[in-house]
Amino acid sequence: MPDISVATIATIVAAASPLVFAVVGETITEKAGVVNLSLDGSMLLSAMVGFAVAFTTGSVTLGFAAAALVSALIALIVAFASIELRLNQIAVGFVLTLLGANLSAFLGQDYVRKPGPYITSMEIPVLSGIPGLGPVLFDQNPVVYASLILVAVSMWFMFNTRRGLELQAVGERPEAAFARGIPVNRLRYVYTVLGGALVGIGGAAFSLDVKAGWSDGHIANYGWIALAIVIFGGWHPGRAALGCYLFGLLQVMALKLQPSLPNLSQVLPILPFPLMIATLVVVNLPAVRRLAARSRVFGRLFQGEPPGALGRAFWRE
C-alpha cells in the first residue's frame, strides 16, 4: 500500500476538479429530468474551444467563458430537441457526442501540442498554513476553489432551498409539479443549459489546468467517466464529488504502483465502469431497496433511484 500524504490528497483534489464540474453539472441536469448524454463530446469541444480562445486572446478567463458557452449551446440543443420536439434524448445526445468529438478534432487542428496559457495557483494567505487542511483546501488555483464551492452550494441549493425542491419535483413528478404551478419545461431549459455550462467549465479545466494544452481526443472518455460517476453518486452532488475523488485516488495509486505493476495504469481508467455497474446492481437488489426504504441513514447511503421522470418529456394534454 503506497503512503497517502497530505500532498497526495491535495493533488487528488486538484486533479479531480474538472470531473467535479462535469459531474455536478450533469447531476443538476438529470435532477431536472433531462439526460444530456453528449458529455464526452461537449467536454472535448469545450476543452478545445477554451484552449483556443485562451491561446488567441491570452486570457484564461475568456477561455473558460467560451468553453461554458459552447457546452451550454450543445445542452440547449438537447433541451430543445427533447422539450419542444419530444425527440429521444439518448438519440440526440449520442449524435452530439460523436459530433462534438469530431468537431473538436477538426477545428482544433491548429492548436495541437502548442504551449498556451494555463491557470496559475492562488494561495490563500494564513489559511493555507493550517496543517493538513491548508495545503488541500487553501493552496490551489481558483478553479479548484470553485469546484469545492460548487459542491457545497449545489448541495445546499438542491436540498435546502425552495427552488432546489422545485428542481427535484420537476425531475421526479413533473405532472404534480405542474399542477402546483411550477413551470416545468422552463425550469428544464434553465437547468439543462446551466448543467451544460458547468460541463464546459469542466472541459476547460482540463485544457487550461489539469491537462493543459490540446491534442486530438485530448480528454476522450472523461465524459463517459463523468456520466458513470453521476450514477455511482446516486444523483447526489456530494456523493458524486466523492466519486470523482475516489477516481482521482485510483489514478494516483496507479501511478505509484506503476513500477511494480506496469500494466495496471493502462487498465485503471476502466475501473469506474465496473464500479458503476456494481453500484447499479446493488442498489436494485430487493434486499437493499427494502433496507433503504426502512432506514434513513442507509437510505441516504444507498439511495440509487434515478429521478422518476428522467429522460421523459413532459407536456400538457
Partner: protein, 350 residues
C-alpha cells in the same frame, strides 16, 4: 399516385435535412480552405475509383453492416444496445484466441474464428442482458460500462499475455498465421467472405423481422412491454433473445475485423464501428432496408476520406463531422415534422 405524393410530402422535411448537412459540409471545407468540387471528386475517386478502392469501401461496409444488423434487432425490441461496440470487441478477442491457438486447415480455422466471434459477442451481450433483465441495470450504462471493460481487456491482452515476444507495444499482437487470414479476391484486399457475411446478416435480419412470428413478437415487446406481456409473450425471454442474437452478429463483425482487416489483435480493434452503426441506424429510422445502403454511403465517406487526407491534407475527422451533422439534422427535421403534425391536429380539434 395520391399515396406517393403523400409519402413525398411526409418525407420532405427529412429530405431537406440533407442540403442542410451539405451546407454545413461546405462551410467546413471553407474553414479548412479546401475546394469543394475537388473534395467531392477525391472522395468519389477514393471510394469508388477502381476495383481496389471499391473493395476497400466494401471492407468498411461489411463490419458496419453487421453492426447495423445487430443494432436493429435490439432496437426492434426497444433496447438501446450502445454496448454493441463492446460486443464487437469481445468477438474480436474470442476470434483472436482461436486464431492464435488453433492450427488446422484454413477452412476449419476460419469457421472456428467466426463461431468464437459469435460466442464471444453473444456472451458479452448476454451478460448485459442479465444485468438489464434480471438486475434492473439500464442497458445504455451497462452497455457502455461493458464496452470499456472489453477495451481494457484488449489493452491488457495486447500489452500483457499476448504481447509480441520481447516487446510489449500498442501496435498489437504478433500477426496471425496465414490460415487465419480471410482469403481475398486475387490481388485485391477485399474478402468475399467478409462481404458475404455482411449481406447475409442484412438479409437475415430483414426477413426475420418482416415475416416471422419471432420478429413480430420482438416488435410487440419493443412497442410496449406490458401490452406484449398481456398478449402472452414472454417478454423477458424475448429481450434476452434480442441481446444474444445482436451480440452474436456483433461478435462476427469483430471476427471479420481481426481476420480480414488487422490480421492481429490491436488495441483499437473496433475503432468505433459500433458507434458509427448507431448513427446509421438512427438515420435509417431503425429499418434494415434503409440501413444497408446508408452504411454503404458512410463506408464511402470513411474510405474516401483517406484520399482527402493524402491529397488535400484534410483532417480525418471531417467525414465524422459531416455524418454527425447529417444525422442530427435528420433527427431534428423529423421532430419538427411531428411537432407540426401535432399542431395541425390540435388546430383541427379546436
Amino acid at each position: 399516385m395520391n399515396r406517393a405524393l403523400e409519402a413525398l410530402r411526409a418525407a420532405t422535411p427529412r429530405l431537406l435535412a440533407v442540403p442542410v448537412a451539405l451546407a454545413v459540409g461546405l462551410v467546413l471545407l471553407w474553414v479548412a480552405d479546401a475546394p469543394p468540387l475537388e473534395t467531392v471528386r477525391h472522395l468519389l475517386q477514393g471510394s469508388l475509383g477502381g476495383q481496389q478502392r471499391i473493395g476497400d469501401t466494401l471492407m468498411v461496409w461489411a463490419p458496419l453492416a453487421l453492426a447495423c444488423a445487430a443494432l436493429i434487432l435490439t432496437f426492434t425490441a426497444g433496447l438501446w444496445n450502445i454496448g454493441v461496440e463492446g460486443q464487437i470487441i469481445a468477438g474480436a478477442i474470442a476470434a483472436s484466441w482461436v486464431a492464435r491457438e488453433l492450427s488446422a486447415p484454413p477452412a476449419v480455422v476460419l469457421s472456428a474464428m467466426l463461431a468464437a466471434g459469435a460466442l464471444g459477442g453473444g456472451a458479452w451481450a448476454g451478460l448485459l442482458g442479465v444485468l438489464n433483465v434480471r438486475g434492473g441495470v439500464h442497458e445504455i450504462f451497462g452497455g457502455l460500462g461493458l464496452t470499456f471493460v472489453a477495451t481494457g481487456a484488449v489493452i491488457y491482452l495486447v500489452l500483457g499475455p499476448w504481447k509480441r515476444p520481447g516487446i510489449a507495444s500498442t501496435s498489437g499482437t504478433e500477426p496471425f498465421d496465414a490460415a487465419a487470414w480471410f482469403p481475398t479476391l486475387g490481388a485485391l484486399r477485399v474478402s468475399p467472405l467478409a462481404v458475404g457475411l455482411g449481406v447475409l446478416a442484412v438479409v437475415a435480419v430483414y426477413l426475420v423481422l418482416r415475416g416471422t412470428r419471432f420478429g413480430l413478437r420482438l416488435r410487440a415487446t419493443g412497442q410496449g412491454r406490458a401490452a406484449a406481456a398481456r398478449l402472452g409473450i414472454p417478454t423477458d425471454r424475448y429481450l434476452m433473445y434480442a441481446f444474444l442474437l445482436s451480440g452474436a452478429i456483433a461478435g462476427v463483425a469483430g471476427a471479420v475485423l481481426v481476420g480480414a482487416q488487422h490480421h492481429k489483435l490491436v488495441p483499437s480493434v473496433s475503432g468505433g464501428y459500433g458507434f458509427l452503426g448507431i448513427l446509421v441506424v438512427l438515420l435509417a429510422g431503425f429499418r434494415m432496408a434503409w440501413a444497408a445502403p446508408i452504411a454503404l454511403f458512410f463506408a464511402m465517406i470513411a474510405s474516401g476520406g483517406v484520399q482527402l487526407q493524402l491529397r488535400l491534407d484534410l483532417h480525418s475527422s471531417l467525414g465524422g463531422v459531416f455524418q454527425g451533422v447529417l444525422v442530427l439534422s435528420v433527427l431534428l427535421a423529423g421532430g419538427w415534422q411531428a411537432l407540426r403534425a401535432r399542431r395541425r391536429e390540435a388546430a383541427a380539434r379546436a
